[in-house]
């Protein structure tokens, strides 16, 4: 069953950039081989960690948005656990949250369009804020 997930992981900050790209390609290959689809890869860059992980105070954050089967996620997570360079990972299912969000937005738009025309622009603005 295809579902949408967000995989965020922290890579060792001492790793060179091209090796991080290699790692990303590896993960991407894993997902596409499993019949999934990688929707976006975002390198969020070096950030300070809120607490120490394996003696590291900094980490390189990478964010994947993926539409795939749960078994693929299981395999990706297994790989992450084996790899020393991945300090931490977090997988979140986002399709249901997105659906709920759309519903809320639709209701709001209906309300604002029926109330007054000028309140519509503010609703749009907040929708843009919410997606950030």
């Amino acid at each position: 069953m295809i579902r949408k997930y967000e995989i965020m992981f922290i890579v060792d900050p001492n790793m060179p950039e091209d090796e991080i790209d290699q790692l990303n390609a590896q993960v991407e290959g894993l997902v596409t081989d499993g019949g999934g689809q990688v929707e976006s890869i975002e390198k969020l860059g070096r950030k300070r960690l809120a607490y120490e992980i394996q003696k590291h105070n900094q980490g390189f954050y990478v964010l994947f948005t993926v539409a795939t089967d749960g078994n693929v996620i299981k395999e990706v997570e297994r790989r992450f656990r084996v790899m020393d360079s991945v300090l931490r990972y977090l997988t979140v299912r986002i399709d249901e949250a997105e659906k709920k969000l759309q519903k809320v937005r639709a209701i709001r738009q209906k309300k604002s369009s029926s109330a007054s025309p000028d309140s519509e622009s503010s609703a749009e603005q907040s929708a843009a804020n919410g997606s950030q």
């Binding site: 922290i10 950030k47 809120a50 607490y51 980490g59 709920k100 969000l101 907040s126 804020n129 919410g130």
Partner: protein, 75 residues
């Protein structure tokens, strides 16, 4: 009758006012407003956040903690 001397202003939910529908765990700046220095989650009775949003906020903070965007505790 003696009037009540202290009139406490009613707190309103920040997320309802700013029309933030989904509270994302990646937005550490927003979440950090709700974790005071001891890194505990700020109770609703202090912050005035409504219960649906507090629930979302709680989940977001817990996710953010796991990925080291927010601290579990401070030494």
């Amino acid at each position: 009758m003696v009037q009540k001397q202290f009139y406490r202003r009613r707190k309103v939910c920040k997320f309802c006012v700013e029309k933030i529908d989904s509270i994302n765990y990646k937005d550490a700046r927003l979440l950090s407003q709700f974790v005071p220095e001891r890194a505990k989650i700020l109770p609703r009775r202090i912050s005035g956040v409504c219960s649906p949003h507090q629930r979302q906020l709680k989940d977001a903070i817990k996710k953010a903690r796991n990925i080291a965007l927010l601290p579990f505790t401070t030494e």
